[in-house]
């Protein structure tokens, strides 16, 4: 897969530069690392701050979701590499309005260490932090070891739900509880058809034959549960749903939102073909689908493939999911 870029080492800074100059009404840089993004107009109204962060190469995750009803600030690193603890500390400083800051991000070793360290750094500055980790990728560990799972697209639901809670004026514990409830309610699985290329690596992260796919692959190319011949859309959708529903069974009357997400290159045409089966299966399970999300919400640059995320909702979460939000990648009026 070919890429349009200049010097690989400038990829992230040039990307952020372009992103911020295309959307100055939404984004701002903060601090001197050049990789911490905040809202352009931070209304300093003592609301709880929400920060996220992680490696670059997943737009709209992470920085894209800085905006009203979503995140307050983000620290990003090089492609697929954790930002430094100092950058994360800057993101926390930017997000703090005196009501404390929730750190909300995916369960990856480097990110966890750095966000913890960032918490130590800002503790001296009297900023109270809480943490919620997304660990929604069911292919990355069995249910008994849920806490070891990686965080993938479920993150987007957690941003949205806790972002809406913060905007409503809930306190740090309240916002953290919503984020944790969201994290607990999400299950995801991905399937990859082709690799992506980390600019500084210069070659695809992994090789995969032209007639093959890999079920359960992670968003950085982490090995999945099987690799084999490319199946049909309906087979792929059914297997992904089988796996999701056996990890988090649904009952008649359940409400659920579902994300059918492109890992990058896979076009919306294919997502909609998959969505037919998703809808059919969830309805067969007796569930009601609330605000399905079909599109590119959490990607791996030009990787080809899809992920499905189920997010079980109760009254509270449903209301928060439908609340307004506004960033260049997601608008709910």
């Amino acid at each position: 897969m070919k890429k349009i870029l200049n010097k690989p080492e400038n990829y992230v800074n040039e990307m952020l530069d372009g992103m911020i100059s295309a959307h100055p009404e939404y984004y701002n840089l903060f601090g001197d690392s050049g990789k911490v993004v905040t809202r352009a107009k931070a209304d300093k109204n003592k609301k709880v701050g929400i920060v996220s962060g992680g490696g670059s190469g997943h737009l709209p995750v992470f920085t894209g979701y800085v905006g009203r009803g979503l995140l307050d600030a983000c620290a990003i690193g090089d492609v697929f590499a954790s930002p430094s603890a100092e950058q994360m500390a800057d993101a926390i400083r930017a997000a703090d309005q005196g009501a404390g800051v929730l750190r909300l991000y995916g369960n990856y070793g480097g990110d966890v260490m750095n966000f913890d360290m960032a918490g130590d750094l800002v503790e001296f500055e009297d900023i109270t932090c809480t943490t919620v980790l997304l660990a929604d990728d069911i292919a990355s560990a069995p249910i008994e070891e849920r806490e070891n799972r990686r965080g993938v697209a479920g993150m987007v639901y957690a941003f949205k739900l806790s972002g809406a809670a913060a905007e409503e004026g809930r306190d740090l514990d309240g916002v953290t509880a919503i984020a944790q409830k969201a994290a607990n309610s999400c299950r995801s699985i991905g399937a990859a058809l082709s690799s992506c290329t980390v600019p500084q690596a210069g070659k695809p992260t992994f090789e995969i034959a032209d007639d093959e796919m890999e079920m359960g692959m992670g968003i950085h190319g982490e090995p999945g549960v099987w690799r084999g011949k490319l199946k049909t859309a309906d087979q792929i959708a059914n297997e992904m749903l089988d796996r999701l529903l056996s990890d988090m069974p649904l009952q008649s009357g359940d409400r659920v939102s579902v994300m059918v997400n492109s890992l990058g290159a896979t076009p919306p045409e294919e997502l909609y073909i998959l969505y037919r089966i998703v809808k059919q299966r969830l309805e067969e399970a007796g569930a009601t689908i609330i605000m399905p999300l079909v599109g590119r919400y959490a990607t791996s640059m030009e990787m080809s493939g899809v992920s499905f995320t189920l997010c079980k909702l109760d009254d509270e979460l449903e209301k928060l999911l439908k609340a307004p939000c506004d960033c260049p990648f997601w608008k709910i009026a």
Binding site: G77, F80, S84, E86, G109, D111, M113, M117, D120, A201
Partner: protein, 212 residues
């Protein structure tokens, strides 16, 4: 022998030289089991420390805190953050002191190890930098003579490398390579081998996975 600001600046210089030398080797080792940036992390970190070496305080606690900060700024790599965590833990213990006895080293390694373990949430025996430090802590425990300590530490990191080489990686990015990691040194253990050798001023070998 006592350890003071001068000991630290000399150590920084030796460490930086070692990392300049081992840059490629560490990237390659990390490339086999991870994302290939360990040499970059170490060299960037040491260069950042070096930049501020003139202003290094006499207070050993403050001096090490400054070194730790350089690592937390220069990269978000796990290894840098773990080293910074260890340095900060030691820095807290030493705050207010301008010199300490060599005999304290074993104890300080344990202090660093504990905090690093807490930070990384990993067990001993997982084939990580923690196992190298654990070997060093045990080998230097109760030793008082600087030369004895240096010898023991240098031997300990070699032994640890050899002992863990044929185990499976269980932590960090290397974990996903599982079987493939057998027979390969953990990059973080390899880096700690070079760090300790440089600090102890004992020759580090340049051969990854060769008999030593």
């Amino acid at each position: 022998m006592t350890i003071n600001r001068a000991t630290i600046t000399t150590s920084i210089t030796r460490l930086t030289e070692a990392m300049e030398r081992d840059f490629d080797m560490l990237n390659t080792a990390d490339g086999a089991l991870g994302d290939g940036d360990l040499g970059i992390t170490m060299l960037r970190g040491m260069r950042a420390i070096n930049e501020d070496i003139q202003g290094l305080p006499d207070d050993l606690g403050l001096a090490l805190f400054q070194c730790a900060k350089s690592f937390t700024k220069s990269s978000g790599s796990s290894y840098g953050t773990l080293l910074a965590t260890g340095l900060m833990a030691v820095a807290k213990t030493l705050k207010g002191k301008t010199e300490i006895e060599a005999a304290q080293i074993g104890n300080l390694v344990s202090v660093a190890l504990d905090q690093m373990q807490a930070r990384g949430k990993a067990q001993l025996g997982g084939k990580t930098v923690l196992d190298s430090l654990d070997a060093v802590a045990k080998a230097t425990y109760n030793k008082t003579d600087a030369k004895d300590i240096a010898d023991a530490a240098a031997t300990a990191v070699d032994t640890a490398l050899k002992e863990f080489r044929n185990k499976k990686a269980t932590i960090g990015r290397a974990r996903i390579y599982a079987e493939k990691s057998i027979g390969l040194d953990d990059p973080g253990m390899l880096a700690m081998n070079r760090i300790i050798k440089a600090l102890a001023d004992r020759q580090g070998t340049n051969n990854n996975n060769k008999t030593e």
